[in-house]
């Protein structure tokens, strides 16, 4: 839990990066159209560039930094590395958060469901195919872990 003083007009993105130094979440378009700044608020993906920081008082905010656990990468992070779904990496944090929400809600998503869930996250490097493969691979990994 963090107790912070923030400016009334600070965005959640600004507070995460500039006050909490959680720079995994990236500043892209700042207009809610690229998804690079995606975080989870109360478990739901939002664009933090358009979220006033003060809107989040008392709410849970999850960023990409929270995905690894004691040095162990999340299955999604492993899968992204294995399939080559990371090139410049700028979109990756946002895509990981959207993907994580998808797999928590829908552990065995179909291809079209993955595409829809990630439709708010832009990638200019990969052409998306490795990203979709990574999500499917992560789904398998997570299912195996449950067993």
């Amino acid at each position: 839990m963090h107790f912070l003083e923030v400016e009334p007009d600070a965005s959640l993105l600004e507070v995460l990066r500039d006050q909490l130094f959680l720079r995994g979440t990236k500043k892209g378009c700042e207009e809610g159209e690229c998804g690079a700044c995606t975080v989870l608020i109360e478990g739901v993906p939002v664009v933090s560039c358009l979220t006033p920081a003060l809107k989040c008082q008392g709410l849970s905010v999850e960023t990409v930094e929270g995905m690894e656990n004691g040095g162990q990468l999340h299955p999604l992070q492993e899968a992204f590395l294995e399939t080559g779904a990371v090139q410049c990496g700028y979109c990756t944090a946002g895509i990981l958060m959207s993907s994580r929400h998808l797999l928590e809600k829908n552990p065995e998503p179909k291809s079209e469901e993955i595409r829809m869930a990630l439709s708010g996250n832009m990638c200019r490097c990969t052409g998306y195919l490795q990203i979709f493969e990574a999500v499917q691979l992560a789904a398998k990994k997570m299912k195996a872990l449950e067993k």
Binding site: E7, P8, D9, A10, S11, E30, E31, G32, E33, G35, T38, V44, P45, V46, V47, L50, T51, P52, L54, K55, Q57, S98, M116, A117, S119, G120, N121
Partner: protein, 293 residues
């Protein structure tokens, strides 16, 4: 930075209205914020203080009371698109909401916000124009009902002053007759893009399946959401046939006067596409006669 001096998180409607009253125009309502924050960043709005209503209980439900469906002010597009109640009775609306923005934007933006933006092509608001829709407006002195069409003062101009009043709910009165409805949208890509043209259609049916009453809302083809009134008259008493749908679609297109737009396409293209999407929507609505009534 967006130059707000204060940010309030009231816990009740009374508290929120009290802040608006006290600040005398300097404070403005915010729910999801996807439009307002962007407008502030682009210097299109100059709100000095924000009153965030997202913590007020009782404003995010979708309920049915008798013949009326109520949608609370905090209901997001994501909620609306996934609502079993809306899918059953108002599939046009749930479909419209499912196509707004992106998953992230749909998790944040509200239907009421879509109305207040007063954009003629705003998908959720456009779909609502195909129904008998009103809103509840709460002010410091009390609440009042307003018909949806009366909220539009012009392009981007809502008659409800968000520095004084709060729209708390949208109400859609379902007809006694059987009702079919559908929504169609044409856009340059599948996500995060404004519509080239969109339409919401609603058909109330007589016992012999002819049209008792039709509503065809089309956007963005005028400064306010547009209703194809001549086409609606044409449909009355007509059977649900492809021939009738094509005639209606062509007539609806001729009623519209879209502008040439660098963003959305030429006037001729958009008018032609109105015919296409209206026909598709009428066909889609008619399929529901067999599936969900």
């Amino acid at each position: 930075m967006m130059d707000w001096e204060a940010y309030f998180l009231p816990g009740s409607l009374r508290e929120a209205l009290g802040i608006l009253e006290e600040k005398q125009g300097a404070a403005r309502i915010l729910a999801g914020g996807t439009d307002l924050v962007l407008q502030q960043r682009r210097r299109q709005h100059k709100a000095k203080m924000l009153v965030d209503i997202s913590r007020i209980p009782g404003l995010s439900q979708i309920t049915k009371e008798g013949d009326t469906i109520h949608i609370g002010a905090l209901c997001t597009h994501a909620q609306a698109s996934e609502s079993a109640l809306l899918k059953q009775y108002l599939p046009a609306l749930s479909c419209a909401c499912s196509q707004i923005g992106s998953p992230q934007i749909r998790n944040m933006g509200t239907l009421v916000g879509n109305i207040v933006s007063a954009q003629p092509g705003a998908d959720a608001a456009l779909a609502l124009h195909a129904f008998d829709t009103s809103v509840t407006v709460a002010g410091f002195a009390g609440a009042r009902e307003m018909s949806l069409i009366d909220l539009y003062a012009g392009l981007g101009l809502c008659c409800v002053d968000s520095t004084r009043d709060i729209i708390t709910a949208i109400s859609i009165t379902l007809p006694k007759k059987r009702m079919l409805n559908a929504f169609e949208r044409l856009s340059s890509r599948g996500t995060l893009t404004l519509p080239v043209v969109n339409t919401g259609v609603c058909l109330e049916l007589n016992d012999d399946d002819s049209v008792a009453l039709g509503r065809i809302a089309i956007g963005p083809v005028s400064p306010k959401p547009f209703r194809a009134l001549k086409t609606e008259s044409f449909l009355e008493g007509r059977p649900l046939t492809l021939e009738v749908f094509q005639q209606a679609a062509d007539m609806a297109a001729q009623e519209t006067r879209p502008r040439d737009s660098l963003l959305r396409g030429s006037r001729e293209f958009r008018q032609a596409m109105v015919s296409v999407i209206v026909r598709r929507a009428l066909v889609q609505a008619s399929y529901r006669r067999r599936t969900h009534e």
